[in-house]
Symmetry: none
DNA sequence: CATGAATGAGAATTCATTCAT
DNA sequence: GATGAATGAATTCTCATTCAT
């Protein structure tokens, strides 16, 4: 029960912003905090502070702290899924597809490192969690695209060294995506250059003229 | 996409005797829980439950929850540092050293996955944290060993593809160590076989006779 | 043992026109919710939902959640007071008056169970609460009417068993009004028939010729 | 002005009491608060205050606020069930049994009014709630005992007025148990005397010699 | 050594209420 | 009038930590 006689209270500074903009700002802030402190160590107050809102007001935009994480992951996976699908259905050569996938990954890691990290860090914990089934589902779809491109490239004889595709996929995936933990664009090599070198190593040679 | 992580083993250790044994059991349990649930989501009670002890009693062995994490990381890094040093000071060829480093990593991921995961997961968060400076320090020492071996190998002309050592180091390190999220010994390939294939890809060829 | 209580009717009223009509709809909805969930467990949003209005808009009709409860009780007690006064000033015989009071109670419990329940459930809690003094006041007036009728009936020698009027009043009142927790018109006996039987028991005999 | 002497620090006053005693004290306090303010309006802090404990410490004794309510109801219903069973299986006459049931009710209302009120007030809300099925179950058992005694008494021709047992049961039950809202022992009539009069009214006559 | 009771500092969440639009 | 956004105070519950026994 709230107090029967509320005090006048100091005039609250109402900054009326576009709700959609503020919603996105919340996701942006949450992703950053989740990535740097971990979901468990991020409080809704922390998130509120970042967007100059009281923590209680967050609940106008999201039903719970979990729902914020869910929204971050949904948006991230939707974007990644779309980009991935575009690359592998472009009709380009297998090696080109692999290169584009890696390059896109580096670009994404440069542009939205916190979203990538949030996804990576929370993936395991969310495995069976109700409401988060889409994470495994969408991840599997993306994985299938990578595996398909790598398989086609192997069948085309592109690789200098022969290893099972399951092994190669993991090596490529892990080497590529873990770069989010150190890659910062603007330092040394940009995304395209870095991707070029990674792909060269993966193939054991440079792209054929 | 994202590397899967091993399930928590459900074996409550029951050690009544040697305090040192119990201390080690606590670290094992803690590492497993930290790796599977995250440090923040692991309660001292959870740890106590695993070793059949009340949470209050943990404080006879460790000063705090943080101290348990610290002990886990110290032991892990000490062991890893020792093994790493042994490999790179064995007087073997550069490629042999790199191969041994990778093989040792796979072996370690098979034997102590939870320690590896704990280290990886908490590394970023612990960056500046007081009391955890040793993590960055020891990590740097190990990194130096890997970089040295890779540099020597590059100078020996072992690699099919030429890339800056800083780039190659990260690719190799990330591809290798992230395998902890999916590698389970006893399935398909063992540590040695897997390491062999990884190294072949890294070099773009198989070891010269 | 304990009296069961009626289920909440799920009919969201949609009144767009007359403010007075909407005001009344709010009271109906509020009474239903207060009766079924309790005042404390009813949110202003719940009330708004029932009348298809946002909770903020309720404040155009009532100054506070408390004010809604107050209005419910005021209206209920006013109606009950009026009906009671009419019965006891009708110039009928004491037993007739008692019978009419009981019958009216059953009728009211059939027609407006939620208002009766709200009154009963919140009565104790509202005892000393400022702004709710009218509850005790009006209740006392109604009680006086019942006691007067019972006293007159006792003096007329209507009762088979002799007990102090204070005791009889409470027995009669409690037995009668608590029926709201189980009485549903249309099942078995109607209000008049039920009142008849109740009164017969209260008197220890059936009404004389 | 008092000297600026440093505070001696807040020595945590550890009053080491028998846990079972404190547990019961919590239930006692909780029942009182639930009865007077309602469950929803009682905070765990309120309960803690009553037993000079911090609210967090309550969770050493009960898993949740709900669990406290559950314990109150379980204890209450167990005691009531036992007493009821003893009365109806004593081999006494039906009217004696009814009288004993009513008398016991008044005694209980005198001794533990808050438990009775808590039961009555929260009964409805707990209807379908998981974990509270025992409430309906135990209540039904007690109701059966009352109905059996009343039926037997009716068959023995004890009642001056004839009404369906379902009606009579409710009238008797409601009149009796609702007395908890006003009955305070030590005023005017004691439990036995009050029960005697209530029963006389219920029967329409005084017990046969 | 081990424990159970206790604490206090938060944590997420709820909700009556306000008010600019 | 109506609404949605915002608030702030309160609520239940959690948990690392302490400490007398």
């Amino acid at each position: 029960m709230p107090p029967a006689t509320p005090e006048p209270a100091a005039r609250p500074l109402r900054v009326r912003e576009d709700p959609a903009v503020r919603r996105q700002a919340i996701l942006e802030a949450a992703a950053r905090l989740f990535a740097t402190h971990g979901f468990a160590d991020t409080t809704v107050r922390d998130i509120g502070d970042e967007v100059a809102i009281k923590s209680g007001s967050l609940y106008h935009y999201f039903a719970s702290k979990d729902a914020i994480l869910e929204a971050v992951l949904r948006e991230f996976l939707a974007d990644l899924g779309t980009a991935t699908a575009a690359i592998v259905s472009a009709g380009t050569s297998p090696r080109r597809q692999v290169t584009d996938l890696v390059r896109h990954a580096f670009t994404l890691m440069g542009e939205r490192p916190y979203w990538v990290l949030t996804y990576q860090n929370e993936f395991l914990r969310l495995a069976g969690q109700p409401g988060f089934e889409f994470v495994a589902g969408e991840s599997a779809r993306i994985e299938a695209a990578w595996v398909a491109a790598l398989t086609a490239s192997a069948e085309a004889g592109d690789f200098a060294v022969d290893v099972p595709v399951a092994v190669r996929y993991r090596l490529v995936r892990d080497a590529t995506w873990t770069a989010v933990r150190w890659y910062r664009p603007g330092e040394e090599l940009d995304a395209a250059a870095l991707a070029e070198r990674y792909v060269a190593v993966f193939y054991g040679n440079h792209a054929a003229g």
